[in-house]
Amino acid sequence: MALLDVVDLKTHFFTRDGVVRAVDGVSFTVEPGRTLGIVGESGSGKSVTALSIMGLIPKPPAKIVEGKVLFEGRDLTTLSERQLEDVRGRQISMIFQDPMTSLNPTLTIGTQIVETVRRHFDVSKAQARKRAVELLEEVQIPNAAGRLDDYPHRYSGGMRQRVMIAIALSCNPKLLIADEPTTALDVTVQAQVLDLLEDLRAQHEMAMIIITHDMGVVAEAADDIVVMYAGQIVEQAPVLELFDHPEHPYTEALLAALPQLEGHGIREGRLTAIPGRPPDLIAPPPACRFAPRCPYANDRDGCATHPPELRELRTGHWVRSQHPASERTRAGAGVPA
C-alpha cells in the first residue's frame, strides 16, 4: 500500500472575483522511503496541494471541494482539527520556504523544539531539552548545547532552516513535506541543506515530498517527479525517464527556457522563452490549459475543445497532452506553428 495516496484532489478558493481552481483534480502516490518532487511555476498549485494534504489551507476562502488524501489508508480530509493535529508532526511534518517567518522570534530555539517534543511525547522538560540537543546535533548545528538558548535572529538563514528540519524530525514522521525548502538560501547553503535532507531521509527511512520551482533541485533530490501547470498535473514520471524523455510540451519548454551553466555559444545564443503567461485560474482555457502557449496546439486536434486526460504513455510515464513528444516525432508533425 502506498504511504500517501492523493485521489482527484480539488482545492478551490472562493473569492469575490470568482472561484479560483487552484488545485483541480490532482492524483499521485508516495511510496514509503521515496522522494516525490512536485515542480511548477508560481500559481501552478504545487503549494496549495501540500497545504491541502496537511489540512492547512485557509478556510475560508479555500475549500477542498472533492477528492481524498489517504495516508496509510485513512482519509485526512474527513478528520477533525483535533485528529489532524496528531497526524501533523507525528506522522507528517512540513518545512517551509522562509525559516525566519516559520520560527517565533520571541522564543529561544530550545523552547521551540522542547514545545514540539512535549506536544507529542509524554516527557519531562529536562528529557525534552536533552532530545533538543540531540536533534540540533543531528542537523549539524555546531556547539548545539551552547546554542540552544539563542534566539532565532542569532542563527543564519541556513541554520534556521536546519532548526526547522530538526523540529520537523522531532517526532520521527513517516512523511516530510518540504515546500521550497532552499529557495531563500544561497546556493552553497542550499546544497548543504539538500545534502542534509537526503542523509536524514535515508537514516529515518522517511518518504519525502519536495516542492520547488527549480528543475535542478528535483533532478537532484527526487525519485519521481510530478510537473504541475495551472492547477493540474501535466506530466508524471520517474526522474531519469522525465529528464531523458520529457513528453509534455510544457515540460520541454520549461527545460529549454533554463539557461545553461556550461557549453559553447551561450552568450551569443537566445533562450527559448515560453510566450505569454500562465492562465487565470478563475476562467482557465476551456480544454487544454497549456494550449494558448503551446506551439503544437491546433483546432484540428481539439486542443481548445476537448480537455486532455492524463494518460500513461509508457509504464509509469503519464502525460496530459494531445501532442506528447514521442507521438509528434512518430507522426512527423514536429514542426511548431
Binding site: E41, T188, D195, M215, G216, A219, E220, A257, R267, R277
Partner: protein, 286 residues
C-alpha cells in the same frame, strides 16, 4: 584598444558599525566592498556573481553614486564620477541607468505606466510634451509592452510586464550603461527567459553596455562576456565567462559552481560527490 567605458579602481565601501545609545561611537566597519577593480568595455557585459552579502549590489550602487564610495575611483566615459558635483552627476546619470530586482516595489504604484517611463525625459527636459508622449509609446513598443496601456497602473500587470516597464524607463534617456541588479530573480523561469532575451536584443540594437548583477550562476553565464566572482566584498576571480566557469582557478569559484543544481539527474550524482569533497577541502567556519 579604446579606453574602457567604465573603469573601477580600488573601490571601497565600508559601513560603520555603531554602538551606544546617546553618544554613538563607531566601533567597527563592515567592508561591504573591499578593494574592487575592473574595466568594462563599450558594448560588453560584465557579470558580477556572488552570494548574498558578497558586495555585488553595493558595487553597482557605488558605480551609479547611489551610495557614496568610501574610497576609490570610478571613471565613466573619461569622467571621474567621485569628484563630480550635483550638476555634473545629474548630467552623467543620463548615460547610466539601473534596472532593479523587484518589479513590484521599484515602480511607484501611484504613477501610470506612461508617467513612469516618461519621468526621466521630463526631469531632463527632453523635447516637448508631445514629443515625450510619442517617445514613451515608442519605448514601450521596443520592450514588448502594449503602448495602449500607458494610462494604466503597475498593479494591473504581472511581474514580467512590470519588469518591461522598468526597462523602458531605464532606456528613456538612451543611456550607454545599464546596471542590471538581479533583474530576473523575482520572475518565473518561463518569464525569466523572455526578459533575458529582451535584454540581449536591446544590447544588440542600441549597443548598450551592461553590468549584470545576479546570484544565479547560469543566468549570469547566459548574459556575460566576462564574469567577476565576488565573495565578502572582494573579487575572487575575474575572466572570460567560459574560462571562469569551465576552468575555475579559485577553490571558492569551484565550490560555488559545484553547488548549483543542474537539470540533469545523472550529472547531479557526480556533482553531489564533488561538492561534498570540496566542502571538506574548504572546511567552512561554523
Amino acid at each position: 584598444m579604446n579606453e574602457p567605458l567604465l573603469q573601477v579602481k580600488d573601490l571601497n565601501k565600508w559601513f560603520p558599525v555603531k554602538k551606544g545609545l546617546l553618544i554613538e561611537r563607531t566601533v567597527d566597519h563592515v567592508r561591504a566592498v573591499d578593494g574592487v577593480s575592473f574595466d568594462v568595455a563599450e558594448g560588453e557585459t560584465l557579470g558580477l556573481v556572488g552570494e548574498s552579502g558578497s558586495g555585488k549590489s553595493t558595487t553597482g550602487y557605488c558605480i551609479l553614486q547611489l551610495l557614496e564610495p568610501s574610497s576609490g575611483s570610478i571613471s565613466f566615459m573619461g569622467q571621474e564620477l567621485t569628484e563630480l558635483g550635483r550638476e555634473g552627476l545629474r548630467r552623467a546619470r543620463r548615460d547610466m541607468q539601473i534596472v532593479f530586482q523587484d518589479p513590484y516595489s521599484s515602480l511607484d504604484p501611484r504613477m501610470t505606466v506612461g508617467d513612469t517611463v516618461g519621468e526621466p525625459l521630463q526631469i531632463h527636459g527632453v523635447g516637448t510634451r508631445r514629443d515625450r508622449t510619442a517617445k514613451v509609446r515608442e519605448l514601450l513598443d521596443v520592450v514588448g509592452f502594449n503602448p495602449g496601456f500607458v494610462n494604466r497602473y503597475p498593479h494591473e500587470f504581472s511581474g514580467g510586464q512590470r519588469q518591461r516597464i522598468g526597462i523602458a524607463r531605464a532606456l528613456a534617456l538612451s543611456p550607454k550603461l545599464i546596471i542590471c541588479d538581479e533583474p530576473v530573480s523575482a520572475l518565473d523561469v518561463s518569464i525569466q527567459a523572455q526578459i533575458l532575451n529582451l535584454l540581449k536584443d536591446l544590447q544588440g540594437e542600441f549597443g548598450l553596455t551592461y553590468v549584470f548583477i545576479a546570484h544565479d550562476l547560469a543566468v549570469v553565464r547566459a548574459m556575460s562576456d566576462r564574469i567577476a566572482v565576488m565573495n565578502r566584498g572582494k573579487i575572487v576571480e575575474l575572466g572570460p565567462a567560459e574560462t571562469v566557469y569551465e576552468q575555475p582557478r579559485e577553490a571558492y569559484t569551484q565550490a560555488l559552481l559545484s553547488a548549483v543544481p543542474v537539470p540533469d539527474p545523472r550529472a547531479m550524482k557526480q556533482r553531489r560527490q564533488e561538492r561534498r569533497r570540496l566542502r571538506h577541502a574548504l572546511a567552512p567556519e561554523g
